[in-house]
Symmetry: D2
Amino acid sequence: MWTLTVQPRFNETDALGHINNTTLPVWFEQARTPIFRYFTPDLDPQNWHLIIAKIDVEFLAELYLQHEVEVRTYFSKIGNSSMTIVHEAWQQGKLCAKGHAVMVHFDHDNKGSKPIPEDIKAQLLPHLVEQ
Amino acid sequence: MWTLTVQPRFNETDALGHINNTTLPVWFEQARTPIFRYFTPDLDPQNWHLIIAKIDVEFLAELYLQHEVEVRTYFSKIGNSSMTIVHEAWQQGKLCAKGHAVMVHFDHDNKGSKPIPEDIKAQLLPHLVEQ
Amino acid sequence: MWTLTVQPRFNETDALGHINNTTLPVWFEQARTPIFRYFTPDLDPQNWHLIIAKIDVEFLAELYLQHEVEVRTYFSKIGNSSMTIVHEAWQQGKLCAKGHAVMVHFDHDNKGSKPIPEDIKAQLLPHLVEQ
Amino acid sequence: MWTLTVQPRFNETDALGHINNTTLPVWFEQARTPIFRYFTPDLDPQNWHLIIAKIDVEFLAELYLQHEVEVRTYFSKIGNSSMTIVHEAWQQGKLCAKGHAVMVHFDHDNKGSKPIPEDIKAQLLPHLVEQ
C-alpha cells in the first residue's frame, strides 16, 4: 500500500463549501505515481506504457479544505496486462471517498494491450490486497 | 436526452497528447446543469438540493483537442430519492467515453435523502432511457 | 475582437461561493483559440508555434455560477515576434475581470523567438485595439 | 519566506509535454496557505477575510512532470490593508516561473477593504523582502 498526503487546495473546493467531486480523480491519479514509476522510472511522458480504461469514485462523506487527506492506494487485482487499483481518501480518521482505476499495459505502436513484464509484476504483487 | 457541446481546452490535454482522464468528470458535471436546474432553477448554490454519491467513467477511445465533443446525457434510472445519470462523450462520430453519476436528493438540514418531488420527477421521466 | 461565451462550471466555484481566481487564466486560454488557429489552423499540438511569456489578471468583481460569462479578446500590441492579448470577462453587463497574455512566436528547433509571418500579422491587425 | 514542495500532477501537464501555464496560479494559491492561516487559523472558508485583487505570472523556463517544484513565497510589500506576495517556482535549481498576487484584507459586511490588524502585520513583516 502506498500513502499520499494531500493538502487540499482552495480551488479544489466548490460553492457548497467542500471539496468538489471532480477533485478526487485528480488526487487518485497523483496517488498512482509510485505505480507509474514501475513502468517509467523517470516519469518521462515520452516513454509511457500505461493507459487508463476505467475509473470510479464513491463519495462517502464530505471532504474539507481544512485538514490533510491521506490517500491509500493498493491493488485489488493484477491481471496479465491490466491492473485494478483501489484508492481510499481518509480525512480526520474517516474514509470519505473510495475509488478504483483500471489501467492497462499498452503497446502504443501496435495499439493494443501487452503483458505486464514479470519483473514488474513481482514488484507489484506485495501491494495486492485480497478483497 | 440533453446535449452539451464542449470545445476542449488546451489545459485539459496532458503530456500524452490527448484529453486527460480527469477532464471527463468535469465535462460530465457541466452536462448535468439542465438536471441541476430542475431542482434549483436559478443555480444558486445556497439553495442546492443534490449531492453526488458515485461517478464512473469508461475510456473507450482517445479524445483530442482539435474537435468539439458532444456530451449526451440521460437517465438510466430514476428512483424514489436518487437518480442514475448516463453521460456519453462523442467526438467525430465516435463514442470515446461513457460514464454514470448517481445523484441523491438531499435534505441538508436532516442530513439525509428525501423523495424527489412528484412534479420534478414528471419532468425528468421523458429523459429516462430504458437500458 | 473575439467573443467567447462561457457557461461557468460548478467545479470552477470555490468555498467562498464564487468563481475561483484560478479559473480566469483557464477561460482566457480557451479564449485565445481563434488566435491559436492563425498559427496552427487544425490545432494539432504537434505543430504548435506559440509559447506564453506572461499572464496577468485583475479581479474587479465577483463572478457567479449562475450566469454566462462573455470573454472579449483583442490585441493591445502586435510586435515583431510577440503579441499582447487583452481578455475581459463580462457577466450581467459588468466587467468582472481583465487580464493580459504575452505570447511569443517560437522556433522549437532553435529554442528562440522568430518573427510572426507577414500574412498572419495582416490577419491579426484588425483585432488590434489602440489603448 | 515560505517554501512549498509540489509534486507535479499528470493532469497539470499539457499536450506540449510540459506543465500547463494555468497550473502556476493554482500552485501559487496553495503556496499562500501559511498567509491564509494568519487571517483564518483554522482555514474555515466561512470565516475568510482576504480577497484577491490581481495576479501575474512570468514564465521563464519549462516545468516538467518529472521533478519536484519548490515554490518560494514572500512579500514584496505590506500596505495598510493590502499585501503584494511574490511566488517563485524552482525546478532542478532553476527559476522557471515567477509571479505576484495582490491580496486585500476585506470586510465582507461593508464590502470594502479594512486595515490589516497590527498583531497580524507584526507576524507578516519578517517575510517582507526589500526588492
